[in-house]
């Protein structure tokens, strides 16, 4: 953070300094700086809420900073709208896909400047012709006239990159581009980003995966609580611990998980199961007190498997055995009431919780039926007595039971969505992506909590695309690919060894 009025070195393309952005009640960014050079990949790191997305929105003209300066090629600029940032050559590939699914690849690339011939008529052949070079540049193997809905997630990402390049982007911001693609695709994406670096594009790479930062990036800026924890540091001189310390303000302590009893009798068995959702033959056994990890990428059919177990997807063949007895599961209610199976959805905000409702209502929703008195009333005292043990067990931090769940932190929301199943005395918990969107500190706490639940006799099916998480927590790991279980591995908890054998099953 130099304050001297030195002339900018020639290679600096974008210099952001002293940025402050305040929202009602929160200072999102405070005296933040960022320096991007042509031909460099710059990692932007920080935990959730550290201010990364606010900074990106400022760079792309969605927000205006309250204070501070943005200099592009040495001269001060202001981006008053997404359009003006685009015009200055700054493009962003957002975390959410920003494509029009029904439109073709080519139309999406040229969306804001569709070529016409007279009378504003769309010139379809010109669209395909003009888009083709960009499609080839990013190595996308799809015809320009392919509708985007038919592409894989990774391919859609390439379309977005192609679109950014076609806008003559000299600065390309990538917001968590590897969150939903396979390791193989990540490798390919990195090669393309490497090419762009050689073509003198300034790249910003936002990621949670530190390994990727070391693989790909030249320099790094870390935000913590809206301030620079590190500004423009060379990656070469860093190690993982150092980077984590920047991010969370102290060294990461991953406590060794305490030993837990050897898993007991089978609680849940699938034998040759096929489903309406297109799952191939599925076989697995989940024992009492066991954490069974299900690893697979987005789209591998993991969530479909979970939904099958709670009766949301119809079984077309094979057997489900719960506690050794052959059975059928018809819907959530039966799964819970009869089989004591609870499902913690990966989509907390949409499926797991009712954000506007209180902690109390969200936790007791599974047991209202049992709490009601003769007149269909529910007494708060009985309700609280039923839910408090689970909320305490999980150490949920809320001001009161009446606080609305939407105002809790992500970690506490996740705890509430687990607590509701504990309150209902679920013995088998299917936990789908428990730490998506949760920061490192809380992630460890949730890991310990899941481990603890298993140590206390719950059976846990842990579905995750986070490999370190699966390897840390699972007793055994099954790997899913294309809606089928392609391998089952005993877990040695050795990351390098396990990740290699998991990858081997994936390719």
């Amino acid at each position: 953070m130099s304050a001297e009025p030195n002339p900018l070195p020639p290679e600096v393309r974008l210099e952001v300094s002293g940025i402050r952005k305040q929202f009602p009640g929160v200072v999102a960014l405070d005296d933040v700086s960022l320096r991007l050079r042509a031909g460099e990949i710059h990692a932007l790191l920080g935990e959730n809420g550290a201010g990364k997305s606010t900074l990106i929105k400022i760079l792309t003209g969605v927000y205006q900073p309250d204070e501070g300066e943005i200099r592009l090629d040495g001269s001060p600029v202001r981006f008053v709208s997404p359009r003006s940032a685009l015009a200055a050559g700054i493009s962003v590939v957002h975390q959410e896909r920003n494509l029009i699914p029904q439109f073709t690849v080519a139309e999406n690339i040229l969306l804001e400047r569709i070529p016409t011939r007279g009378l504003q008529l769309v010139d379809h052949s010109a669209i395909n012709r003009l888009a083709r070079p960009w499609i080839e540049m990013v190595g996308l193997d799809a015809a320009p006239a392919t509708p985007v809905v038919e592409l894989s997630v990774a391919q859609m990402q390439l379309v977005e990159i192609a679109k950014a390049l076609s806008l003559q982007a000299r600065i390309l911001l990538m917001d968590e581009p590897t969150a939903a693609i396979t390791p193989h695709e990540v490798g390919y994406l990195f090669r393309i980003l490497g090419d762009l670096r050689r073509h003198n594009v300034a790249l910003v790479f936002v990621s949670h995966k530190l390994e990727e930062v070391f693989d790909l990036c030249d320099r790094v800026t870390v935000l913590r609580d809206g301030k620079n924890a590190a500004a423009d540091v060379a990656v070469a001189g860093l190690d993982r611990d150092r980077l984590v310390t920047y991010m969370i303000g102290r060294a990461e302590v991953i406590a060794e998980l305490p030993p837990k009893p050897v898993p007991g009798e089978p609680m849940l068995e699938l034998a040759g199961l096929t489903t309406e959702g297109g799952d191939a033959v599925l076989n697995l056994v989940l024992r009492k007190g066991e954490v069974l990890g299900v690893y697979g990428l987005v789209g591998a059919g993991r969530s479909k498997l979970a939904k099958t177990l709670v009766g949301e997807v119809k079984v077309t063949g094979g057997e489900v055995r719960v506690r050794g007895k052959k059975t059928r599961i018809n819907g959530f209610r039966e799964a819970l009431e009869k089989h004591r199976i609870g499902y913690v959805s990966e989509d907390r905000k949409q499926e797991g919780l009712i954000l506007l409702h209180s902690v109390r209502a969200n936790t007791s929703i599974t047991i209202w039926r049992h709490l009601r008195t003769l007149g269909q009333w529910i007494r708060h005292s009985a309700e609280d007595a039923a839910i408090l043990p689970s909320l305490r067990q999980l150490d949920v931090k809320a001001q009161s039971l009446s606080q609305s769940v939407g105002t809790l932190s992500g970690g506490n929301q996740q705890k509430v969505s687990i607590a509701k199943w504990l309150a209902a005395k679920a013995e088998i918990l299917i936990i789908d992506e428990p730490t998506v969107g949760i920061d490192i500190k809380t992630k460890n706490a949730l890991h310990e909590l899941i481990w603890d639940l298993a140590a206390n006799g719950k059976s846990i099916l842990l579905i995750s695309s986070d490999m370190p998480e699966v390897i840390r927590l699972s007793d055994r790991i099954v790997v899913m690919r294309n809606h089928a279980i392609v391998g089952e591995l005993p877990n040695t908890h050795q990351y390098d060894e396990m990740s290699e054998s998991i990858m081997a099953r994936l390719s």
Partner: protein, 332 residues
């Protein structure tokens, strides 16, 4: 390729078969179905209701809705007939004024939705009362009789069994399809409906798209109102009062998504043919007139449910088709 996809070929093919089957059944069961008079009357109803359905479809494609289509049609019809009957305004001038009024009503809807960001359901429910209220205030529920003869003649004109007013509908339908699939503003409109955030971040003109969709909706409602006035031979204040159900049934059976982004013109046309067949069939088999509304409602609901199931099944099939799964994981 794009164009076919926009027309939702899967749904359209199914509807086409059902339509053909329906025609076959009706012509066997009641020979009078094929009579010139019956075809003329049915075709005329279809010409009007199709415009009503398209007026809804264009707004649905934006992910919004327009509950004021009927009251716009009614208001336009009585303004046109009032101008001609009461003030002796020449026919072309009265019609132009009426159609412009329809566009203005649509633009008012669009501006309100764009400015206030309030859900279009609530806003157009409100404006529908405003437009219908104007209608009632002006007419005191009394029709304007004795509209100029050339208008009523147009309403009765036919070439063989084909009503002349169908030509208007055919032309407008083709123009609308061309606009949505071939004109930049039409494509932008679909893009905004499909993914408003992406459209905004790409710098597309959201306001222009919103206003255009609502203006087209108002215009089509106005044409439908004018045609019904011509058919009835008078400016009836009740014109448009029963249009809400058909306006939604057409696009929805035709494959439109309420969330926006799809504009199945062909599907809507075929769905309206089906609805006309249901309508006509009930008349031909002399269903008890007091039960006709019930039967139409039930049959349309049935068609909607049928259309939805089929669509979702097709989608499920697409998602798990071997080629689709194989794509995941291969990038080169």
């Amino acid at each position: 390729m794009t164009r076919l996809r926009g027309l939702a070929p899967g749904v359209a093919l199914g509807l086409l078969l059902i339509d053909l089957l329906g025609m076959l059944v009706l012509s066997v069961v009641t020979p009078s179905f094929l009579s010139t008079y019956n075809l003329f009357v049915t075709g005329r109803d279809l010409s009007i209701l199709l415009l009503v359905a398209l007026a809804q479809m264009i707004v649905l494609s934006l992910g919004q809705m327009n509950l004021s289509i009927g009251s716009i049609g009614g208001l336009v019809a009585i303004i046109e007939s009032g101008l001609m009957v009461r003030y002796g305004v020449p026919v072309p001038a009265a019609l132009v004024a009426g159609l412009l009024l329809g566009i203005v009503c649509g633009v008012v809807n669009g501006l309100l939705v764009y400015w206030t960001k309030i859900n279009s359901f609530v806003l157009t429910l409100g404006t529908s009362y405003v437009f219908a209220g104007l209608n009632l205030g002006i007419t005191h529920a009394t029709p304007f009789y004795h509209i100029p003869g050339e208008i009523s003649a147009f309403g009765q004109a036919r070439v063989g069994p084909f009503p002349v007013m169908a030509a208007v509908t055919v032309v407008l339908t083709l123009l609308l399809a061309g606009f949505l699939y071939q004109v930049v503003l039409g494509r932008q409109l679909l893009a905004v409906g499909s993914n408003p955030l992406a459209a905004r971040l790409s710098g597309l003109p959201i306001r222009r798209a919103t206003l255009t969709a609502h203006a087209i909706s108002g215009f089509l409602a106005a044409v439908a109102g004018t045609m019904l006035m011509a058919q009835l031979g008078q400016g009836q204040p009740t014109i448009g009062a029963t249009w809400v159900l058909p306006s939604f049934a057409g696009p929805i059976i035709g494959g439109a998504a309420l969330s926006g982004g799809s504009a199945p013109v062909l599907g809507t046309v075929l769905a309206m043919v089906l609805i006309s067949l249901i309508d006509d069939g009930l008349v031909l088999v002399s269903a008890d007139p007091f039960w006709v509304q019930f039967l139409i409602g039930a049959l349309i609901l049935g068609a909607v449910v049928l259309g939805r199931t089929r669509l979702s099944e097709i989608r499920a099939l697409l998602r798990i088709s071997p080629s689709a799964t194989r794509r995941v994981g291969s990038i080169r």
